[in-house]
Amino acid sequence: MKALDKLDSHIKTRLTDLSKAKEQGRKIIGYTAGGYLPEELILACDAIPVCFIQAGDNAILKDAGHYICRWFDPFWRSQIGYLTSGKDPYYTIVNLIVIPITDNHVRAFSNTVGYYTPEVESFVFGVPHTKDKSALEYYLQGISRLKKKLEDFTGVEISESRLKQSIQLCNRERELFRQISLMRKSENFAVTSKDFVALNHGSFLAEKEVMVEILESFVEEVKDSAPLPKDAPRILFTGSTLAQGDSKVMDIIEAAGGVVVMEEFAEGIRPYWGKVKLESDLMANLAESYFMDRVCPGWFRPGTERLDFLVKLARDYNVAGMIWYQLMYRESYKVESYFFPDILRKETGLNMLTLESEYDAMETGPMKTRIETFIEIIRR
C-alpha cells in the first residue's frame, strides 16, 4: 500500500528530520506509553512529541538488570534498558521526557530517569486509578502543570487558538483511526491487523500532519483492496502492551489462520474512540476526554469498565474468540485474566486464550502450539 510505504519512508528519515528540527531550535518532547499524555499540549507549543514504544527484544532486559530487579513488566524494563544504554536513538534525541505515572511499573522507569540519569530533564504527573470527580480534578491539575512546564521549556505560550488547532489535528487523527478500525466490523474488510498496528506505532513517531495525510490515503486505498478471507476465525486481541517490535503473537495468529479484527491495548495502541470537544474550557475538555471518556486500562480499580468494553467489542466485532496477551509481572492483567474468562463465556459464549511473555525467543514454540490449538477449536 502506498500509504504504508509513505509511512515507512517517513519513519526511516524521522531521526534525521528530528535532528534538523532540534538544530533549528524546536524542542523534542519524549513521553512514555499509556495514552494519558495529550499530545495536543506538545503540538500547541510548537514542540514535537515522540512516544517511546520500542520493546520486544529480550536482550535489552539485560541492560535494565543493572538498574532494577527482574520482577517488573518487560516493556517497562525495556524502556529502562533503552534509556540507560542509549540503544534507542529516540531516547537520546529528546530534550525532555514526560512520564504520566499510571502504575508501579511506570514508577520503575520514572525512578530510573530521576536517579540514574539526572542529566535528562523529566516531568512527571500522576494518573489516578479510579474514575470520579476528584480523580478527574487531579488529572486536570497534572496536565495543567504539564502545560506550564511546556510553556516554560519551549518559551511558547499555549494560547487558546494554538491549543484548539492542535486538538483539531489530533481529533482528525483519532477519527481516521476510528474509521479504519470500524471497517473491520464488516465481513468484507481489507484492513489487516498488522497494518493497523503499524499505522498506530508509526503515529507515535511521525509528524502529526504527515500522519494524518497517510491515514487519509490509507482510508481511500483500503476501499479498493481485496477483502481478507471470510472463513478465518475473527479474533479480539487484548492486553496491557503491544510494543513496536513485539509482533510475535500477531505473526503466529496470522500463520495459524486467524485474523485479528480488534486490538485493545493500553500501551502501544492509541486511544482513538474519543473526540476532544472544542467548546468552552479546552484543558477541561482534554482531561474529560483523555481521562474520563477513555475506557480505562487494567490497572484501574475496579476494572469493570474495560472488561465490559471487551464484551461489547467481542459482540460488535462478531469475534470467534479472544486472545489475552499479558506481559510477565504486570499483576493487574494477571489477576483479571483469572476471573474474566468466566464473565466472557457467560456474556458471549466465547473462549479466551491467555498468553504471557517476557520477550523471550524460547516462548515462541509453546505459544505457537497454544495459538494453533485455540484457533483450531474456535474455527469449528
Binding site: N111, V124, F125, Y138, R301, E336
Partner: protein, 467 residues
C-alpha cells in the same frame, strides 16, 4: 485441661483467660483445622523460633492468637467485618473500629501469617489455596494476598462486609480486591492515590496530592458508613490515636534499649510487635501494648546485665522488616553473627520526622498530609532518604536492604537503595531479595550464602578497624 492449654500458656495466656475463652478458642481452632495432632509441632516450632524465656514475647504471641480468634469468629459474633491490606494507611480502619463495637477491622492475612505461620507452622496449605484460586505461583504475585485468598477459600476467615483497598500504594492489592469481589461479591472502598513524586522531591509534596488522597479517604469512610450501617463518631480520629500513641511511646522506649551492645532482643521478637501495630485495630493493639510493657521491663534487666542476642561488639545492621511467617529467615541474620538494633519501622518512629503541613481540616486530608510527610506513601526516594536519616539514630556498620521480590512498590528500591545508601553513608549495603510472607522459595537456607558472606566482610572490616 484441653489439648491446647499448654500451647496457649506457652503463648502467654493465663489459665483464667483460657477458661474464659475456652468455647471461643475451641470453635476457632476447629475452623482453622487445628487439632491435638498439631500441638507437638506448634510447641516445638514456637520454642525453636522464639525467645520464650521472655514473658513479653509469650504475651506478644498471645496477642496475635487473640486477634486470630476474634478474626475467625467475627461473623459468628455478629460483627461487621472490614479488611484492609498490608501495609496500609491505618487511619481509616482505626476510625471505623473506634466508631462501633460491632465493627471488626484488621489485616487478616497478617494475622494468619503470624499465627498459622509463626505458631502452628501450617501456612503452606493456605498459600496453596490462594495459588489455586486466582493467584498462581511463578508470576511474582503477592504472597500475602495468596494467604488472604487462601484463608477465605478454606473458610478459615470470614468473608468481609467491606474491603478497604490501598490503591494509593499497591496495584496488586486493589486488583486482588477485585478478585475477592469476583469470588465472594465483597464491596470495595478504593482509597486511591498516585505516587507521582519526582525523584528528589521529598520532603516536599504538592497540596493536590493531599487533597486527592484526602478526598479518597473521606469518600471511603462515607462508603463504609453506608455499607456497614454505622456512623463515624465525630472524635474518631482523636480516639483512634490513643492506641497508636501508646504503641509509639513504647516503641521509642524500645529503640533506646536497642542501642545497647549487645542488642538485648532478637529482631524476630521485634517483628511480632511492629507488625501487630499495622495489622490490628482491636484487641491485638491493646494486648500488644501490655505485652510490650512487660517486654520492656525484661529488656531493661537484660541491658543492665549485659545479656544480648549476639556477642558484644558484633557488627550492627539495619533491616527493613522481619519475616512475618517464618522466623528462621530473620534469625539467619543473627545466626551469622550480626546484631540488628534497628528496623525501618523502629527508625521511622524514632528518627527525624518531617512535620505535616497541618493546615487541613477533613479527617481524610489530615491523614493524607501526615502520611505524605511520613515518607512511606510518598515515593521510593522518600523511603530511601528516611533510611539514610534514620540510620543516624543508632550506630550501624551496614544495611541489609531486604526487598520483597513480589511487592512492586518495595522492589522498586532493589538497586537504587543500595547505591544511594552506600554513597551517602559510606556503609556497606547488602541488597537481599526475599519474601517476608512465604519462605518456600526464599528460605533461610537459600539466603544463607549471601548473608554469611556479608557478615564475614563486616566482621573483618570491624576487626581491621580496631587494629
Amino acid at each position: 485441661m484441653a489439648y491446647y492449654d499448654e500451647l496457649f500458656k506457652l503463648c502467654g495466656f493465663e489459665g483464667k483467660e483460657i477458661e474464659k475463652e475456652r468455647p471461643r478458642i475451641e470453635k476457632a481452632l476447629e475452623r482453622l483445622g487445628i487439632g491435638p495432632d498439631d500441638m507437638q509441632t506448634a510447641d516445638s516450632w514456637v520454642r525453636q523460633n522464639h525467645d520464650v524465656s521472655l514473658e513479653g514475647v509469650r504475651k506478644l504471641l498471645g496477642a496475635w492468637l487473640k486477634e486470630l480468634i476474634d478474626l475467625v469468629l467475627a461473623r459468628d459474633e455478629g460483627k461487621k467485618i472490614v479488611y484492609f491490606g498490608f501495609p496500609a494507611i491505618l487511619g481509616p480502619g482505626l476510625m471505623l473500629s473506634v466508631s462501633s463495637k460491632d465493627v471488626f477491622v484488621c489485616a487478616p492475612d497478617m494475622v494468619l501469617c503470624h499465627t498459622m505461620g509463626q505458631i502452628f507452622n501450617k501456612l503452606t496449605p493456605i498459600l496453596e489455596a490462594g495459588e489455586a484460586n486466582g493467584l498462581p505461583p511463578g508470576h511474582s504475585l503477592c504472597s500475602l494476598w495468596q494467604v488472604k485468598v487462601g484463608g477465605l477459600i478454606k473458610g478459615m476467615i470470614p468473608v468481609p462486609d467491606l474491603a478497604l483497598a490501598s490503591s494509593y500504594y499497591c496495584d496488586m492489592g486493589s486488583k486482588a480486591d477485585d478478585l475477592v469481589t469476583a469470588l465472594f461479591g465483597v464491596p470495595v472502598a478504593y482509597i486511591d492515590g498516585v505516587m507521582d513524586s519526582k525523584w528528589g522531591e521529598y520532603p516536599n509534596y504538592l497540596p493536590e496530592r493531599v487533597q486527592y488522597l484526602g478526598t479518597q479517604i473521606n469518600q471511603a469512610l462515607n462508603k463504609a458508613e453506608k455499607v456497614l450501617g454505622i456512623k463515624i463518631v465525630p472524635d474518631a480520629w482523636e480516639k483512634s490515636q490513643k492506641g497508636s500513641q501508646a504503641y509509639v511511646s513504647n516503641l521509642l522506649r524500645l529503640l533506646d534499649l536497642m542501642k545497647a551492645d549487645p542488642v538485648p532482643v532478637s529482631i524476630v521478637e521485634l517483628e511480632l510487635l511492629e507488625a501487630l501495630w499495622g495489622s490490628s485495630t482491636n484487641r491485638g493493639i491493646w494486648e500488644g501494648i501490655k505485652a510490650m510493657e512487660i517486654l520492656l521491663r525484661e529488656l531493661e534487666d537484660r541491658v543492665k546485665a549485659g545479656i544480648g542476642t549476639t556477642e558484644k561488639g558484633a557488627p550492627r545492621v539495619m533491616i527493613q522488616l522481619g519475616h512475618t511467617s517464618d522466623p528462621r529467615v530473620t534469625r539467619l541474620i543473627e545466626d551469622m553473627g550480626l546484631a540488628v538494633p534497628l528496623t525501618f519501622i523502629l527508625a521511622w518512629i524514632g528518627g527525624p520526622q518531617v512535620k505535616p503541613k497541618g493546615t487541613y481540616t477533613t479527617p481524610g486530608e489530615t491523614i493524607a498530609d501526615y502520611e505524605l510527610a511520613a515518607a512511606f506513601y510518598h515515593g521510593t526516594d522518600a523511603v530511601i532518604k528516611r533510611f539514610e536519616e534514620n540510620a543516624k539514630v543508632v550506630k550501624l556498620d551496614g544495611f541489609i536492604v531486604n526487598y520483597l521480590y513480589n511487592c512492586r512498590p518495595d522492589a522498586l528500591a532493589s538497586h537504587n537503595q543500595k547505591k544511594y545508601l552506600e554513597e551517602k553513608t559510606s556503609l556497606p549495603v547488602l541488597s537481599l531479595e526475599w519474601d517476608i510472607y512465604d519462605s518456600r522459595s526464599y528460605s533461610a537456607a537459600s539466603l544463607k550464602t549471601k548473608v554469611e558472606t556479608f557478615a564475614e566482610m563486616l566482621k573483618a572490616k570491624k576487626k581491621s578497624a580496631k587494629v
